[in-house]
């Protein structure tokens, strides 16, 4: 099976690099990243802050374009074939990103309006999803009238209402209190499995990745794939945890070493020579 095998793969990154120009020079967010996510798989992308996780999510969603390499999502280039993936991708971000001038139900309706779903079923479908997520009776509340957990449920309902094939969650439960976050995680995981969706779940929590993921992709700085943990379900969690930690700590040690070699007299020149070759 190759990375671009569209029958089995839902998402493929091939040699993807992404750099951002800044005032202090280009910053590398991802470096030659290659991986694929299978259809119906719950994949967790795990890494520390600043390792390019959110950039990966934005690239999948087509919100950014790679500097080099290419990406396919459901057989299409997510940034260039913009309309082709309309309605096939859903997303939930760390903050709920609800439109403050819309009520809960109007926020959930948004993707359906964009998909030009007939008006007759718009509100019914949105209301059904709010009910499924335990928000019956709050349809006409504005986001600032809801608690953080409730707002995130509205965001989940909005992501699920168009019934997308692929869901991208970028630290979606990260800033909720532990009880709410745990409950939402369990509910969402069950829901995604019941509906056979491909899920890309970006997280910095090892526990969350171990709890939810079928596979875990461990990213290190700057946006390098350190390890892929296959078949997470059924394996010893403590062992996996220590395995992931050793990968992350190894990457951190390597990054420190690189920094110190840059800081040494002649270090920058040495690196410059290396690039020149």
């Amino acid at each position: 099976m190759t990375l671009l095998d569209q029958d089995s793969n839902s998402i493929a990154f091939v040699d993807v690099s992404k750099t951002f120009p800044t005032a202090r020079g280009a910053v590398t967010a991802l470096e030659r990243l290659s991986f694929s996510i299978r259809r119906g798989e719950y994949a967790c992308i795990l890494g520390q802050s600043g390792c390019g996780k959110s950039t990966t999510a934005n690239l999948i969603l087509g919100l950014e374009r790679p500097t080099s390499g290419f990406i396919t999502v459901a057989g299409a280039d997510p940034a260039r074939e913009f309309a082709r993936l309309r309605g096939r991708l859903g997303s939930v971000f760390q903050s709920d990103r609800l439109l403050p001038w819309r009520t809960a139900i109007a926020n959930v309706r948004l993707p359906l309006e964009i998909l030009k779903i007939p008006e007759s079923s718009l509100t019914r479908r949105a209301a059904q999803w709010l009910k499924r997520l335990g928000l019956e009776g709050f349809e006409d509340s504005y986001p600032q009238q809801l608690s953080g957990g409730m707002r995130q449920r509205v965001a989940l309902a909005r992501a699920l209402v168009p019934e997308p094939e692929i869901l991208v969650l970028d630290e979606a439960f990260a800033h909720l209190d532990e009880v709410t976050s745990e409950r939402l995680r369990i509910d969402f995981h069950r829901l995604s499995k019941e509906t056979g969706k491909t899920v890309v779940h970006i997280t910095h929590s090892i526990e969350e990745a171990l709890m939810l993921g079928d596979r875990i992709f461990v990213l290190g700085k700057p946006g390098k794939l350190l390890a892929v943990i296959d078949d997470v379900v059924g394996k010893d969690r403590a062992e996996l945890r220590s395995d992931i930690l050793s990968h992350l700590q190894g990457a951190a040690r390597h990054a420190r070493k690189e920094r110190s070699s840059i800081d040494r007299p002649g270090g920058r020149a040495a690196i410059g020579e290396e690039w020149a070759t």
Partner: protein, 279 residues
């Protein structure tokens, strides 16, 4: 897609506490006793002055009130008022559409912004009265002159309000809506225009007074109809009572229009003002 039953529950209606606390309190209307006192004091001084000065300087309040009533009862005067108000509304409306459209375009396309910037700055540097003279020299028709003067005077405000409001939309919201892959038109009607509402209402409130002044000035200097023209006629006939009656009508128009805009603003969804989140 089918899923079994409600997959989660919330903590019941107890969250209504959060709801109540999140709703911004709206200040109730209060009577400005001090302001009313000052106005009454001015009226008393005016009335006293009317006993010592000729009527073309300080006509008695009773005369002013009688002129105001007769003006409001006279069909010809009402059509004069109508002319001026329609001019103000149409000129401002057209400038609003043009200025907002240019502001949105400039916020979305840096090349458009760069192209428009010198023009806006040039306009800002030229005094308003110069534009009135230019309009008299350039245009023959009264309505064209007025439209031009109002457009020149108020366009930058609509432009900058729209431009800054679009630039102020949170990046999070841009990305969220874009992730659903809307068309450009959908992006405009689902995100940009709703996010602009508070800023554009503010621009209307700012420009209403300014636009009214410009229309009156244009009618005064170059008009053959409208309230400005009537003010000039009152000045030529030394009719201070008529000048004040027309001025009162103008002030009432501005205050009523502002009250309507405030009412519209209050009717906006409570979250509309929270659009400009941090990026």
């Amino acid at each position: 897609m089918s899923v079994g039953g409600p997959i989660a529950t919330v903590t019941g209606r107890g969250s209504s506490t959060a709801i109540d606390s999140a709703v911004p309190a709206r200040a109730g209307a209060t009577i400005n006793i001090e302001g009313i006192g000052v106005l009454l004091g001015l009226a008393v001084i005016w009335q006293i002055a009317s006993h010592y000065f000729p009527p073309f300087l300080f006509p008695p309040l009773r005369t002013i009130a009688a002129t105001l009533v007769s003006t409001l009862r006279d069909p010809a005067s009402l059509s004069t008022i109508g002319f001026t108000f329609v001019r103000i509304v149409i000129s401002l409306g057209m400038t609003f559409i043009l200025g907002s459209a240019l502001g949105i375009a400039a916020a979305l396309h840096s090349r458009t912004a760069r192209a428009l910037e010198p023009l806006i700055q040039l306009k800002q540097g030229v005094p308003g009265v110069c534009w009135i003279i230019f309009s008299i020299l350039w245009f023959k028709g009264m309505e064209t002159r007025i439209g031009f003067i109002v457009a020149i005077g108020t366009l930058p405000s609509f432009y900058y309000q729209a431009h800054d409001a679009v630039r102020g939309i949170s990046l999070d919201l841009w990305q969220m809506v874009r992730a659903w892959r809307p068309t450009r038109w959908q992006m405009l009607v689902k995100l940009i225009l709703p996010a602009l509402r508070p800023a554009l209402l503010t621009a209307w409130r700012i420009n209403l007074g300014g636009g009214t002044r410009m229309v009156i000035m244009a009618e005064l200097l170059a008009g053959v109809s409208g309230i400005g023209y009537q003010l000039r006629a009152a000045e030529e006939q030394f009719r201070m009572d008529a000048a004040i009656a027309w001025t009162v009508i103008l002030v009432a128009f501005v205050l009523i229009s502002d009250a309507i805009l405030k009412w519209v603003e209050r009717r906006l969804p409570i979250g509309a003002l929270a659009t400009q989140l941090t990026t």
